[in-house]
């Protein structure tokens, strides 16, 4: 297993984003993931990341940064899907999500019913990636 240093990741972020605001946004998220108990962080919402990053940035900037951190290049966040139904949260597997996007119907994990028009009810949240968990 290759152990990566936090500094290497920071350098890579700067290399990719230069002076763009996403540089700071990504560093702020990296800092947050490193200083928290990443073994326990299992449900980070977009709203939570926005808080971590601060008010200086708008949604577009933050989302572009998050999209980047979920990719293979600088993989710090593991995206996950959940269904929010009333006030209940249900995890949706990647496999089921693929099927749902293909067929236009989502299988509700608790009720076992197929739901159409689910784009408003399925949300993305995040977990720290294995890269973060294995940081030197």
């Amino acid at each position: 297993m290759i152990t990566i240093e936090k500094q290497q990741i920071e350098e890579q972020i700067h290399q990719d984003w230069l002076q763009q605001p996403q540089s700071q946004i990504c560093i702020a998220i990296l800092d947050y993931l490193v200083r928290s108990n990443s073994q326990h962080l299992s449900h980070i919402t977009y709203g939570s990341l926005r808080k971590v990053v601060g008010k200086a940035y708008d949604n577009q900037e933050i989302l572009a940064a998050i999209q980047y951190l979920c990719g293979d290049r600088t993989h710090l966040l593991e995206p996950k899907f959940e269904l929010i139904d009333n006030d209940d949260y249900f995890d949706i597997s990647d496999d089921e999500m693929s099927k749902a996007r293909e067929t236009g119907q989502l299988l509700h994990p608790e009720t076992g019913k197929l739901i159409g028009d689910f784009e408003d009810k399925v949300f993305i949240y995040f977990q720290p990636s294995s890269v973060v968990k294995n940081l030197a």
């Binding site: 299992s42 449900h43 949260y89 995890d91 299988l107 994990p109 608790e110 009720t111 076992g112």
Partner: protein, 356 residues
């Protein structure tokens, strides 16, 4: 076809995630949701021969499920002599014919259910190695609340309702409930298990207990000449702290008060860490020294076999008032998401272990 009947009966009573576990235990294929699974199995039923054993297994699972999932439970400690006498009496007893028997063990259709009254009927007496189960069926009114999407209403109606943040619709319909009284052959206990599958309001649950206990007491007198065997049930309250302090399972919900006067309710999302070790909860508890809990939900992850896990849950549904009485008394618990009799037994054993 039999599979469709079994699955449709299950679909009214358990979650899809529990159903998947049961299907896997029976070595049956799982489709994408209820409808597709029913279709898949019905198709296979008509083609394959060796599937019949598995469907029998599925039927047995359903019959067992009626005894254990999801139940609110009161436990009574009764003298061995009395229980044996009850067992002997009930064993010989033949339940009279009722309309429920038309489709038993499957529930009656909504149509048929309309024509029945609300009285509780004895439908089966099941003799097993460990116990004698006395099974009742009752029609109860079931209220379903859901939020109405105002976009669906016409403009005038929407205008009239504009000040409201949410519009809730209430549907009342009848459902058939399966309540069970279990006379243990091994322990000196009688369990009253009230059916809460699909959810039951506090008030309805109370009524259901009252009805079942009264019925059973009356029958006991008639059948075995034992008067009111069910009197005072076990106090489960000590379980809350005992289980919380232990290493058992995973705590997913806890409600407690602090001596500074605040009431806290904490819930863990499915798949998250144990509440006991959650950073925020842990830090809070350290800061105050002790907390006084009144409600706890704990679940266990049981590996049945390779790739098949069940997650039965024990809920101790206390309310804050309990803490203010001289004696803290919690007379019922709920056992949820059992995929088999074994799951239920597992949880009850934990109850007795931690009550000591």
């Amino acid at each position: 076809m039999l599979t469709a009947q079994i699955l449709e009966a299950f679909s009214q009573r358990i979650s899809w995630s529990t159903m998947k576990v049961i299907l896997k235990i029976c070595d049956l294929p799982v489709g994408r949701g209820w409808e597709q699974t029913i279709k898949k199995l019905t198709d296979e039923e008509s083609i394959q021969d060796d599937i019949n054993d598995k469907i029998e297994h599925l039927k047995k699972s359903y019959e067992n499920h009626l005894l254990v999932n999801d139940k609110a439970l009161k436990i009574y400690q009764v003298e061995r002599k009395k229980i044996d006498k009850l067992i002997a009496g009930f064993k010989k007893y033949k339940p009279s014919a009722t309309l429920f028997q038309e489709t038993y063990p499957f529930p009656l259709s909504d149509e048929r259910l309309k024509g029945i009254d609300f009285s509780q009927k004895l439908v089966e007496i099941r003799d097993t190695e460990d116990s004698l189960a006395v099974i009742f069926c009752t029609k109860r009114l079931f209220t379903e609340r859901s939020q109405i999407d105002t976009e669906q209403l016409n403009e005038d109606t929407r205008k009239n309702l504009i000040e409201y943040d949410k519009i809730i619709g209430i549907k009342e319909h009848y459902r058939q409930f399966f309540d069970v009284v279990v006379l243990s052959k091994k322990q000196n206990t009688i369990e009253v298990r009230v059916d809460i599958a699909g959810g039951l309001s506090l008030e309805d649950k109370s009524k259901a207990f009252f009805q079942t206990i009264q019925q059973f007491n009356m029958l006991s007198e008639d059948i075995a000449r034992i008067k009111t065997p069910l009197q005072e049930s076990i106090n489960f309250f000590p379980l809350i702290d005992n289980l919380y302090e232990s290493d058992e399972g995973k705590v997913v919900e806890l409600a407690f008060i602090t001596d500074e006067g605040s009431t806290k309710s904490e819930k863990m999302r499915k798949g998250s860490v144990d509440l006991r070790t959650e950073t925020y909860h842990h830090a809070g508890k350290q800061a105050v020294g002790h907390i006084t809990s009144y409600r706890l939900a704990i679940l266990w992850n049981i590996q049945i076999s390779e790739g098949i896990n069940s997650q039965p849950e024990l809920l101790l549904p206390g309310r804050a008032q309990i803490l203010s009485s001289q004696i803290q008394y919690l007379d019922e618990v709920c056992i949820l998401n059992c995929s088999s009799l074994d799951d239920y037994k597992f949880v009850v054993e934990k109850i007795f272990t931690y009550l000591e």
